[in-house]
Subunit: 401 residues, 2 copies
Amino acid sequence: MFPTVDEQLLHIRRGVEEIIPEAGLRAKLERSIGTSEPLVVKLGCDPSRPDLHLGHAVVLRKLRQFQDLGHQAVLIIGDFTGMIGDASGRSKTRPALSLEETRENGRSYLEQASAILDANRTRIVYNSEWLEKMSFRDVVELAGKYTVAQMLARDDFGTRYRTDEPIGLHELLYPLAQAQDSVAIKADIELGGTDQKFNLLVGRSIQKAVGQEQQVCILLPILQGLDGVEKMSKSLSNYVGIREAPNDMYGKLLSIPDDLIFRYFELASDANTRDLASLMVYCRENPRDAKHDLALAITEMYHGEGAAREARAYFEKTVIRKEDPDDIPVFRPKKTRLGLLDLMTQAGLTQSNGQARRLVQQRAVSIAGQKVSDVRTEVDVDKLAPFVLRVGKLRYMRIEK
Amino acid sequence: MFPTVDEQLLHIRRGVEEIIPEAGLRAKLERSIGTSEPLVVKLGCDPSRPDLHLGHAVVLRKLRQFQDLGHQAVLIIGDFTGMIGDASGRSKTRPALSLEETRENGRSYLEQASAILDANRTRIVYNSEWLEKMSFRDVVELAGKYTVAQMLARDDFGTRYRTDEPIGLHELLYPLAQAQDSVAIKADIELGGTDQKFNLLVGRSIQKAVGQEQQVCILLPILQGLDGVEKMSKSLSNYVGIREAPNDMYGKLLSIPDDLIFRYFELASDANTRDLASLMVYCRENPRDAKHDLALAITEMYHGEGAAREARAYFEKTVIRKEDPDDIPVFRPKKTRLGLLDLMTQAGLTQSNGQARRLVQQRAVSIAGQKVSDVRTEVDVDKLAPFVLRVGKLRYMRIEK
């Protein structure tokens, strides 16, 4: 029924940062083959994020790989924990959401995740199902299984505590609630980003404390964003949303640095695991072609082959042949003379002057085909318009009088 | 209906260590006189202690004083919080009790407290009434009103955290639960020992966070034990239980150091508040008489006038006139020759050789009327017996062959 342990490990290990403990995973896989019982693979999703991007998709893809190996995927919609807000990796308390908001976000998450998971073989549960039933007394009992020092050992909590950044007491309850999820579904494996390592390990502690077999924690790397520096994040505007239009998706993927191409193939595409070794060589030797192949592969995953080919054709015209696209939106500034940064932001090409400033400094901005590098540039609209203001490879605006 | 503010303050301030804030108390008293509404005065009791002693009675006596002034006493039996266990002033996690145990202890507490309070005017509530109804969600909301740093500012938590002594996460929930009690009964005033200062102030914070008028915290000193050094505590064997037999109570009170006599009058007796000033002079000038008066007064409070007078007669005979009492228990050692410390412990006069050693060193032990000061003293039972072995003023044993 299941592939051999080594065959499974080949797929499970793909792109993975850490497996805790390795031996435990092997033992569980062996048992599963022996009993013909699938492993229960848990992925908790934090429904405080309304839009999924390729960074979120990394763990979802890993869950899908487990489904393809015949195991039981359990997607936990953290509608309850979402009210608390996971502060992992954060330096501040997160704003509280209501159960209604987290459920609404959860539905949207599911809809998006269905592009990646095998929906028919995904068990979906809301953690309010068991956490809502817990009383103060149950919380006391759960909290008694963990100590303050263990909790403050988490990097972000420790840093915040030492730098006098307030940590709400409720935030300490989050990892316990997440651990209780593992107990509730008797998780064999929990998936998460490396920033979730601490929370996933609390799951192991609490399972042990209640006499359950401990889950194996599989940690996936945090995908770097398009800038190749920061982690992919909506707030950093370096992301590819999984619902973005084919042209946007394709074009954004063309903008990643060459040394990220293989990583994206490994973590974000459905390229065959057995082909990864040769793909790595290909990416190194032909980054330009490899980048188009990556953009095509990922766009196809989310939009199908036709849309992906159309996006490719569009970018061959605009980027490869350096032409302006056919249908450029038009913006007419109110002032006849204004700063470049103001113009970019007013035209909607950037969200703030600070972002505009960085882009100019990164030499990503051009006026009528000429790169601009001075952030203090003044634009004389009367004199210059009409002209094309271009930001990166993807954003254009025709500035008219 | 109520005495004047100044008249009330005279009684309220008796023996009190701190009132937080003073102005708040005056304002509440004024409002209460204006509206003819009694103030709600809260005392939470921790039912993990099965036996009350004069140390516990200090806050109960203060509550009684509020009753006598016409205010509403609310005694909260912490059957729910008792399960968590208050770690205030402690260096370790306390063992958990079940709700059944804490309720059983609570009943015993009430029975004992009835010797001090005006039972007809005491509202008794169990905090499980509201805390049991709280869900995980309610706990998250409550916990969100307080921070980790604020909690670790409590001396004992801070010390334990710095010295790597484990603090169970559930212990941080204790002060919040106690604060919730204040919210539930809308406390105007909460009484507690100085070791409860932190917990009582959390009550103020949480009341403020939910938009309630903040309680005034009235902190009573911790009564020193019979040794005049440590706080009164059962585990230190320096206590007077409020259910101890009249002779034991009277005799133990005779053993306190002179400089504690007035303190006991102030905190543990029902001596008239207006007489305290002259009592202070009397205690300083006539400690011997004052000590008997104190012993008589306190024994009378718990056992009535007759029993108190009998106890006095007994001690006039045995202590003042230095005679051995009439009915001395007998102990026959198995060995004919043994160390004094062993003999004391075997005879049940001490609980350990360590305690016996300290008592000998304190020159509290005599053999046949002779003080013994050498802890290595060997006793030749064959040669000496029968003789009276005396420990302090109260414990005797006739040693026979």
